[in-house]
Amino acid sequence: MIKRERKRLAAIAVVALVIAVAVILTSLYSLGPVERADFLTKIKKLVIFGSISGSVFALLALGFTLIYGVADVVNMSHGAFYMLGAYAFSVFLTSLGYHPLTNQSSFLLFAALILAAVFIGLVGIVVYRLLIHPIIEDTLSVLVITIGVTLMLHQIMLLMFGDKNLPVRKLLEGTINPFGTTVTYHEILSVVLSFSLISVLWIFITRSKIGGAMRAAAQDREVATLMGINTERLYMLTMAISASLAAIAGILLSPPAASPVLRDWTYPLVMSFAIVVVGGLGSIKGSLVGAFIIGFAEKSIPIFFPGGSFLKGAIALIVMVVVLLLRPKGLFGKRVEAE
C-alpha cells in the first residue's frame, strides 16, 4: 500500500519536472536572443533565491511539524517564537558588547545566535509546561491558548521596544557573484546552517534513544506512556527544539539592518502553515519538500511578475489550497487513517 503510494508520488514528481522542463525549453526556443538571456538569468535567480529561502523555511516549518507530530499540538505561537528570536538576538548582541563600528567580532554574532536559540527554547518549555500542558487533551483550547500566547508576546515586545526597529545584523558581511547574481555570505551561511541543523535533527530523531521515544509518542501517546516514556518531559523537550528552530529561522530570515516590519508574527506563521500542509502534517520529509515548493513559489512572484507584488503573501496559501484539494492529507501525510 505504502509502496504503491510512493510510486505514485514519484510519478507525479517526474511528470511535474518534465512539464516544467518542457515549458522552459519551449519558451527558450520561442524567444529572441536578448529575451532568452533575460529569461535565463531569471531562472538562475529563481533557483538560487528559491533554494535559499526554501532552506530557511524548512528550518521554520520543521519546528512546527515536529511539535504537531509528536505532541499533537497545533502551535499558533510558532510565529511569535520566530519574532522573539530576532529580538532576543538583537538584545543579546548589544549586551555582549557588539558594536557595528568598533567591535565587529563574528564570534559575538554566533554567541548571540546560540544564546537566543537557547533562550527561546527555555521560553518554549515555560509556555508548554505552564499553559499548554494542563489542557493538552483539548485541541481547541490549545489553539486558543497558543493564540493568546502569541498576542501576549507581541504586546510584551511592543511595550519593551515600542515602534522602533531593532537593527538585525547579518552573520557575515560581503557578497559573491555566482552565475551573474549577487548572493550575500549571510545567505550562503544560512543555507549551510539550516542544512546542518536539519541533518543533526534528522540523525537525532532516527538514531538516538530520545528520538526513538519521540517517534513512539508520535505513534501512540498512551502506549508510549505504558512503555515507560515520560511524555511530559518529552513534549517539553520537543517544544524547546521546535521553539529554538523557529528562533534561528527568525534570525536567519530577518530582513537586513534597516528594514521595517520585524515585529511581525503573521508572516512566519502563515508560511509554516502553508509549508507543513503542503508537505503533510507531522512529516519531516514532507516539510522539507514543502519548504522548497513554497520557497520557489514565493520567489517566482517578484522575479517573473514584478507588478504583482501584492500576490507575494497569497501565493503560498494558494499553493497550499491547491495541493490540499488534490491530496487532502498533503504530499507526504498519511492518506488513509484508521478512524
Binding site: 483539548d138 481547541l140 486558543v144 493564540i147 500566547v149 501584492f310 490540499l324 487532502p328 498533503g330
Partner: protein
C-alpha cells in the same frame, strides 16, 4: 379565542423560560441590555456594546459550525469580510438601500460557502483548520489588486449608516443600538433552535464520530455543507451589520474585517464562554468587550492584562465560563426538585 391563545403562550412561556433558571437568567440579562440606554450612556459606550453584539452574533455562528458539527474553521472572517464588503459597495456606490444589501451580502456568503464547502470539507482535522485559515488571507491580498475606492489598504471609507444622524432620539447611536440588539437576539434564538433541533443532534453525531454516523445512514457531506452554509449566513449578517454601524464611522478595510485577528476573535470568545452552547459565545463576546473597556485605566498594559485574564480563565474553566454557570444552575434546580419530591413522599 384570543384570550385562550394568549393564555397558552403565557403558560408555555412560564414552563419553558420562567421555570428554567438558566433561561430566566438569559431573559433578565436581555432586559438589562434593553434598559441600558435609560442610564444615558455616552455614544462611546453604546458603540462598544454595538460591536460586542455584532461579535456575539459572529461568534455564535462560528459556534454552530465548530461546537456542534466539529468542523474547526479558522477562517470565519472570510464570510464576515465578504458580507461587509458586498453590503458597503452596493450601498455606497450603487445606492441600494441597506435592508436590501445586507441580505444580498448574506446570500453571497451562502454561495461562497457552498462553493468552498464542497472541496474543503473533504479535508479533515487540522488540515481543515489550516485550509480555512487561508481563504480570508487570500481575499485580503486579492483586495490590494483593486484601485483605492474599493480595494487597497484603507478599504471603503464611510459606508452609509443605518439611520441618518439624530434619528428618533437624542443620542447618536441609540436607534442602531436597539436594531442590532434585536437582530442579535433573534438570530441567537434561531441559532439556538437550530443547534437543539433534530438537525443539531445529527450535527453532534458527526462531531462525535463521523464514520459511525456515516454508518448509520446519515449523509454526512450534506449535513456538513448545510451547517457550513447556515453558519456563513449568520456570519454574513454580522458582517453586514458591522459595515453599517461600526464600519460606517471609519471604514471597511481588509485589516479590520479580513485579518487574522478577525478570525481569531470568535474562537477566543467561544472558548471563553463555552463551546457548543450558542449562548456561550454571546456571553463570551459581551464580557470580553466590556472587560477590554474596563481595563482602560491600565493604559499601555491593557491588552496584556486582558490576554492574561483570558488565558487564566481558559485554564481554570476549560469548558467555558457560561457553560460552567449554567451547569451549576441546572444542578441546583435538579437538587431542589429532588428534595421537593422527597418531601412529598
Amino acid at each position: 379565542m384570543v384570550r385562550y391563545f394568549f393564555r397558552r403562550i403565557y403558560s408555555s412561556f412560564v414552563t419553558n423560560v420562567f421555570d428554567v433558571p438558566s433561561k430566566l437568567l438569559a431573559l433578565l440579562l436581555f432586559m438589562l441590555l434593553l434598559v441600558i440606554p435609560a442610564t444615558r450612556p455616552s455614544s462611546y459606550v453604546l458603540l462598544i456594546l454595538i460591536i460586542a453584539y455584532i461579535y456575539a452574533l459572529f461568534a455564535a455562528s462560528w459556534d454552530l459550525l465548530v461546537g456542534r458539527a466539529g468542523q474547526v474553521s479558522l477562517g470565519h472572517a472570510l464570510f464576515f469580510g465578504i458580507a461587509a464588503y458586498t453590503s458597503a459597495i452596493l450601498s455606497k456606490f450603487y445606492g441600494l438601500p441597506i435592508w436590501a444589501t445586507i441580505p444580498l451580502g448574506m446570500l453571497l456568503c451562502a454561495l461562497v460557502a457552498l462553493l468552498l464547502g464542497f472541496p474543503s470539507l473533504r479535508v479533515k482535522g487540522p488540515y481543515l483548520t489550516l485550509v480555512t485559515l487561508a481563504f480570508p488571507l487570500i481575499l485580503h491580498t486579492a483586495l490590494f489588486a483593486f484601485d483605492p475606492p474599493v480595494g487597497g489598504e484603507y478599504g471603503i471609507a464611510l459606508p452609509p449608516r443605518f439611520f441618518p444622524r439624530k434619528f428618533l432620539l437624542g443620542t447618536e447611536f441609540l436607534a442602531e443600538y436597539y436594531l442590532i440588539l434585536f437582530v442579535m437576539f433573534i438570530s441567537a434564538i434561531i441559532l439556538y433552535k437550530i443547534a437543539n433541533s433534530k438537525t443539531g443532534i445529527v450535527l453532534v453525531s458527526i462531531l462525535d464520530d463521523e464514520s459511525a454516523s456515516k454508518a448509520c445512514g446519515i449523509n454526512v457531506t450534506k449535513y456538513k455543507l448545510l451547517v457550513f452554509v447556515l453558519s456563513a449566513l449568520f456570519a454574513g449578517l454580522a458582517g453586514g451589520l458591522y459595515a453599517h454601524s461600526f464600519g460606517a464611522i471609519g471604514s471597511v478595510s481588509p485589516g479590520s474585517v479580513l485579518g487574522l485577528t478577525t478570525s481569531f476573535y470568535p474562537i477566543i470568545m467561544t472558548i471563553f464562554g463555552g463551546i457548543g452552547t450558542i449562548y456561550g459565545p454571546i456571553v463570551g463576546a459581551f464580557s470580553l468587550w466590556t472587560l477590554m473597556e474596563f481595563f482602560q485605566f491600565a493604559d499601555e498594559l491593557r491588552v496584556l492584562i486582558y490576554i492574561s485574564i483570558i488565558i487564566i480563565f481558559i485554564l481554570k474553566w476549560p469548558k467555558g465560563v457560561a457553560k460552567f454557570v449554567v451547569e451549576k444552575l441546572d444542578e441546583l434546580t435538579e437538587k431542589r426538585e429532588l428534595e421537593e419530591r422527597e418531601k412529598k413522599k
